[in-house]
Structures are given as structure tokens and as C-alpha cells.
Subunit: 197 residues, 2 copies
């Protein structure tokens, strides 16, 4: 890659990272392309050299982290492992991607509906598709006799997903617990509950 292309790619990464941060802080709708241009030290006109619209920028902010968390969960669901191990890995995968791509994931969870076109064209995975993978995982656990069969599976899926997704409101990438430590607490609660044995 030439030096000029390298600089251009690094400039684009800078724009996407800045957009992620501003979308998270101010909300997607409230953030303008002018805000983003100013934060990276460019004129709005120059920004159009890198991106066509605010919606495209939102797409670039969320695309890679969403693919990563989704495809890793697919691999976990397909793996030949005991259910308890799969749940532990699914929760750890969620929290790890969260940690690695924090503002990006938070922007997706708060503002994904502004990407409806891309979601409908299946260019990007929907929350619904991610949820279905969790449901499949839970059904595997029931079929294997590892999970209690006296709870509604859909509700149990929502419970786990809620536990993990809600982190977008409170997660601090430089917080005192690592993503694996957070995942360990969530896994204990999900599998054994809070009651003292």
C-alpha cells in the first residue's frame, strides 16, 4: 500500500472511531456530519471524500463488531460441547466483543433502527437473528436434559440477552472488572442463580 493510501485508510479509521464516540455521547440523530468533521479537524466537504452520508458512517461504525459477535456465536452454537460450556462461551463472547468495540456496540444497540435499510437487505445481522441463535442454544440445552424444562425458552432467552445487552448502558472499558470477570458473574447467575447452595 502506498503511503498516501495508508494515510487515507488511517484517516477513515479515525473518522469511524470519532463517529462512534460522538454517536454514543450525543445520540445518532443529534450528531451532525459537521460535529464529526470538526472533531477530526476537517471541513465537512472533505469528509465526503471518505463517506457518503451519516447513515453510511453509522453502518461503518457497527459492521465489523456485529459480524464478529454474530459469527463467533454461530460457531459456539455449532460446536460439540456441553451446554454449560456453550453458555459460558456465548456470554464471554458477548462481553468480550463489547469490551473490544465498546462505543460501536453501544451505538448499535441504541440506534440500530436507523439502519433498517441495511438490516432489511441483510447486509448486517439484526438483533432478531442474534436472539434466534440464543434460542437455539437454549433448546439444545433442553434437548440434552441439561436445562430445566419448566421455564419458557423465549423468556429465558430474553433474560440472558437482556443481562448481556443492558451492559451497553453501564459498561466501562476501563472499569475494575475484565470482560471475562463480568461474564463469569453472568454465567453463574444464568446457570445456578443467586441462591446460596
Amino acid at each position: 500500500m502506498s503511503k498516501a493510501r495508508n494515510e487515507s485508510a488511517s484517516r477513515e479509521r479515525d473518522i469511524v472511531a470519532t463517529a462512534a464516540r460522538l454517536f454514543k455521547e450525543k445520540g445518532y440523530r443529534a450528531t451532525t456530519l459537521e460535529d464529526i468533521a470538526a472533531a477530526v479537524g476537517m471541513l465537512k466537504g472533505s469528509l465526503y471524500y471518505y463517506i457518503r452520508s451519516k447513515e453510511e458512517l453509522l453502518y461503518l461504525v457497527v459492521r465489523d463488531p456485529i459480524r464478529e459477535v454474530y459469527s463467533e456465536l454461530e460457531a459456539i452454537v455449532a460446536a460439540d460441547l456441553p451446554f454449560t460450556e456453550k453458555i459460558a462461551r456465548a456470554i464471554a463472547n458477548h462481553m468480550t466483543v463489547f469490551h473490544l468495540h465498546y462505543p460501536h456496540i453501544a451505538v448499535y444497540l441504541h440506534d440500530y433502527r436507523h439502519l433498517m435499510d441495511k438490516l432489511e437487505q441483510n447486509v448486517i445481522e439484526t438483533p432478531k437473528q442474534y436472539q434466534r441463535l440464543w434460542d437455539t442454544l437454549l433448546r439444545q440445552g433442553i434437548d440434552a436434559g441439561e436445562i430445566r424444562d419448566d421455564v419458557d425458552v423465549t423468556m429465558a432467552g430474553y433474560a440472558l440477552l437482556g443481562m448481556c445487552n443492558w451492559a451497553y448502558r453501564w459498561y466501562n472499558p476501563s472499569g475494575r472488572l475484565s470482560p471475562q470477570e463480568v461474564a463469569d458473574v453472568f454465567t453463574k447467575i444464568a446457570l445456578q442463580g443467586l441462591t446460596r447452595a
Copy 2:
């Protein structure tokens, strides 16, 4: 109350309910006072007879449900009951208020930061205050020896709150399960986990 005042109060309730529905469907920022006026069959100018601003309307949308869920949780935390019973009641309270005031609660959870002035003046309870009540509840359980002491309390609180709050994304007030049935699943997971006994 005179007939005219009755009509005025009923008109105001109609405006607040319509605002809740539109804020939920389109998002707070994207909804204009014109949209709300049109949906209740008024001119925007007439709307100002009832409310002063969109922000005031957001406040009216969330005020009563938030007070209700918060003060009921306070009573549960203060009650002299075993921890397991308190957790069951806290989760049921959350889901019941959710059910009774669905779009209102969803608007609060998605858009509460547009109410920062009111939150800072303590005119309305913050998510942080609600979370602290859950933390207090969990610490009572640990002190009483009813909860396992090998999980981080703050994380456990976030897990339960996430489970309950995330419902704002999927809850359907006319869905197949009652709020109590949803709460029962969440309580089983919170206390005993998913693993088959």
C-alpha cells in the same frame, strides 16, 4: 369538577398517551409537536394550551409510571420478608408497571437523558437511584446468608436490572404471557439459574 374541566383533563391525558406512543415509535428527537398535534386532531397552537414544550410532554409521559415503580420498590426493600420473596416481588413490580404503562416506560428507558434537567433537580427518579435500591436488596440477601457471596454484588444488580429493563425492547402488552408469568421465569433464573436440578 365542571364539565369543561373534565374535558380539559381528558384532553390532556389523550395528548400524553399519544405522545408516549409516538415517542416510542419514532423516537423522542424525531417526534415533533406538530406530529403529536396532528395525531390528536389539534393545531400545534392549541397544544400549547395544555403543555409548554416537548420536554414537558416527555416529563408528563414518564413521571407517574416512574414514581410508581420506584416507590413500590422502596416499600419492598423496607419490608420485613425473606430475601427470595423480596426479589420475586421486586421483579414482579417491575414487570407489572411495565405492563400497565408500556410505551411510557419504554420511552423513559430509551430517552431519559433528554430529561437531564428534571433528573438533576431530583424532580424525577434517576435510573441510578433505582439501581441503588436493587443493590440494597442484594446486600440484604447477602447479609442474611441467603445469597451466594462469590459474585460481585454490583454486577449481580446489573444482571437483574438488565434482564428486567431489556423488556422495553421486546415486551408486548398483549403478548401470550402475563407480566406475572414473565416475572416468574425471571425470578426462577435469578434465584435458581437454568441448570436442571
